[in-house]
């Protein structure tokens, strides 16, 4: 980027400036000895061309929509179209959540994102003994196609795209979605959306798991294979760093483990015999937007560049769409505080701004009360308005990648790439991400980082306003969303009624077909689709998975 003689001159000038600075520091020292990011990455006093000496604009930056996509995946970015404002939402019954969806769409939200309750996430029906106390609590209860029909009532699935945060039973929820679309007269080739379907990060961080890693990846590859042919507009997987970060990782760990998971899935699909360019364009990603502004922006820019290089150089993908890292972002739940909760609006706004400056394709902004409960309608509206203010008032969308070329941001982007590649190489040496997970490597790295951060907070090396600094004794009480205690009974009654009114002979025949597919090499998706149309329950299908593949147990390391 700079000629050698220019760098020499800049170095000389910086040294002169440094002498002056020393004198001023002698009189008034800096407020801290060491400045570092929220991930404890040390940050220098000033960045100059010296810090990006080897930087090659064509090689490392490129143009928006062009390899290696550091500046963004689309040529026009937000000048062409804003990111999708997609608020993660689900609570109580399918009726309750359907009402919230209609409300959010009426307020200018542009896509849906379904939060399921714990039993659905773990593959249990609401009438399971393991679901006691959990029904509708942290998401919507979905047991059968009946619930799914209510959830999307009056929402045209050929016009709205839907993201579903679902992992072990992802294939089943996708099948239910296809079935609902077909009932609306919408062909599966027209529907768009995403299933999270990323089991590797479940073992690493989010911990909603069912079967062991290898069969879990096999089911994922089944969905990738099926969608590639049958549901071509569907994002088959959302390779997620969000939960890795929430579990306490650093930004570099989030980046590295997420991309290592991505590499694991691409490898598994290629081993199945799929052509990389047939499925790679439908892979999508999901990152956290934590509070450290520039670290996050650098993380997104580095993510795009690493993925483009991995796909092109390592997996020899030829289709430029296979090189693209398209991602959803959610602001960091773990950065929010129960103390002085209105401050969370401010945190979320900064985090959302970082996601936008980092070039996200869709965004969920957390509500101020999410540290206490599921968001109320009012708080969810403020969170959505935060995105609309960024998009339409602040002017940051006027130009593409406004921070490109900043000495600091480019230098930090390089560092994120280098440090993440170091982890990725280490995981490769272990034999890949599944091996690394089985050894507990990423889990332990994250637990160490989480503990380190907590010690920094406790030792007041890092600040959380309202928690370890600027503490107020009086807590502000805010109205939170309550889930009716009757919901559990109502939901159980509905699921029992569905079971009584269906053709159990047909259901069992469908379940047998799923079992044979699991035991053999058949793709599980077609028999699952048949089963959900006969109103087989989520748990009935998951029980087949558990029988055939076994159950994964948390090793309980700490």
């Amino acid at each position: 980027m700079f000629k050698e003689n220019e760098i020499i001159e800049i170095k000389r000038d910086r040294e002169k400036w440094g002498e002056k600075l020393e004198k001023s520091l002698a009189k008034a020292p800096e407020i801290k000895e060491r400045f570092s990011t929220v991930s404890d990455m040390e940050i220098g006093r000033l960045y100059t061309p010296e810090d990006i000496q080897g930087f090659d604009v064509q090689r490392d930056l490129g143009f928006p929509g062009e390899y290696p996509f550091t500046r963004g995946v689309q040529p026009s970015m937000y000048r062409g179209r804003h990111w999708t404002m997609r608020m993660f939402s689900g609570f109580g019954s399918a009726e309750d959540t359907n009402k919230r969806y209609h409300y959010l769409l009426s307020q200018g939200q542009t896509g849906l994102s379904v939060a399921f309750h714990m039993p659905t996430l773990m593959g249990y029906d609401s009438d399971s003994p393991l679901a006691r106390g959990e029904v509708g609590k942290c998401g919507v209860a979905i047991d059968t196609l009946k619930d799914m029909e209510i959830l999307f009532h009056g929402i045209p699935l050929d016009k709205v795209t839907t993201s579903m945060t679902i992992n072990p039973p992802a294939a089943i929820l996708l099948a239910m979605y296809i079935a609902v679309a077909e009932k609306q007269g919408v062909n599966k080739k027209q529907i768009g959306g995403t299933i999270q379907n990323d089991m590797l990060k479940e073992f690493i961080a989010q911990k909603t798991f069912m079967c062991p890693p290898k069969p879990s990846v096999r089911i994922i590859v089944d969905t990738i294979e099926y969608c590639t042919k049958e549901v071509p507009l569907w994002n088959t997987i959302s390779i997620s760093g969000y939960h890795i970060r929430e579990a306490g990782s650093t930004a570099v760990q989030e980046l590295a483990f997420t991309l290592a998971d991505g590499i694991g899935y691409v490898q598994a699909a290629i081993e199945r015999g799929l052509d990389v360019d047939s499925f790679a364009p439908r892979l999508s990603f999901f990152f956290n937007a934590h509070i450290d502004f520039f670290e996050e922006i650098a993380k997104y820019r580095a993510a795009r560049r690493i993925w483009a290089r991995v796909m092109k150089e390592r997996f020899k993908a030829k289709n430029p769409r296979s090189w693209l890292l398209r991602f959803h972002t959610q602001t960091a739940g773990c950065s929010l505080t129960a103390q002085q909760p209105y401050n969370n609006v401010v945190r979320t706004a900064f985090e959302a701004l970082a996601a936008v400056l980092g070039g996200t394709q869709s965004l969920h902004t957390n509500s101020l009360d999410e540290v206490l409960a599921l968001p109320s309608e009012e708080s969810a509206t403020i969170a959505l308005r935060t995105q609309q203010i960024i998009a339409e008032e602040t002017g940051v969308t006027n130009t593409i990648d406004p921070l490109g070329g900043s000495y600091f941001v480019e230098s930090l982007t390089n560092r994120m790439e280098e440090d993440a590649m170091e982890y990725i190489n280490k995981i490769d040496e272990m034999g890949g991400i599944i091996e690394a997970i089985e050894r507990g490597y990423p889990q332990n790295e994250i637990a160490k980082a989480a503990y380190h951060y907590q010690q920094q907070i406790d030792g007041e090396e890092k600040t959380m306003v309202g928690v370890n600094k600027y503490v107020m004794e009086d807590t502000i009480s805010i109205e939170t969303l309550k889930i009716s205690p009757d919901l559990e009974k109502i939901q159980i009654a509905r699921t029992r009624e569905v079971k009584e009114n269906r053709d159990n002979g047909k259901v069992n025949a469908c379940l047998d077909k799923i079992r044979s597919a699991c035991e053999g090499n058949g793709n599980v998706m077609p028999p699952i689709l048949d089963a959900v149309k006969e109103y087989a329950t989520l748990q009935e299908i998951c029980d087949v998975f558990r029988e055939v593949f076994g159950v994964y147990r948390d090793p309980g390391m700490f």
């Binding site: 996430l121 773990m122 129960a338 409960a373 637990a447 309202g466 948390d554 309980g556």
Partner: protein, 142 residues
């Protein structure tokens, strides 16, 4: 009583909730403070937790819940402890617990609730003050 007897604490994750960051930090913090710590791992039923607590002969159980099922699960665990004549095991909790639920939880016998923003040291100090080795007669400890 031998003052060298180590206090044994179980950190447990009841229910289907997978958020284990806080539970693991507290487990580590207590271990670093010199306690014997048993961590159950995730997705434990109340029965599994109580059985393990009795088998491991713990002096206290710390329950972590961040997905809204705390009222039901904590109560089940306390009931099962009573039923198994282990009601003297001290039970405390932590996680995403709304303000308005705290009086009810304290009322049923949860001795303390640690919410987001708690310092490791504060939780450890609470344990130091409130948890002593149980005085179960040795003959009963077969």
């Amino acid at each position: 009583m031998d003052s060298e007897v180590k206090v044994r604490i179980m950190i447990a994750k009841p229910g289907l909730d997978g958020h284990d960051r806080g539970a693991k930090i507290i487990a580590r913090g207590l271990r670093d403070a010199g306690y014997e710590v048993i961590y159950t791992g995730l997705h434990q039923t109340p029965e599994q937790i109580v059985n393990a607590a009795i088998q491991e002969d713990v002096d206290a159980i710390g329950l972590s819940s961040l997905a809204g099922a705390h009222k039901h699960l904590f109560l089940q665990i306390l009931k099962l402890l009573e039923k198994n004549v282990a009601g003297d095991i001290i039970v405390f909790g932590g996680g995403i617990i709304p303000d308005e639920d705290i009086p009810e939880l304290m009322g049923i016998g949860i001795r303390a609730i640690f919410r987001p923003g708690t310092k490791i040291e504060d939780a450890v100090n609470w344990v130091k003050t409130n948890v002593k080795p149980r005085v179960t007669p040795q003959v009963d400890r077969l």
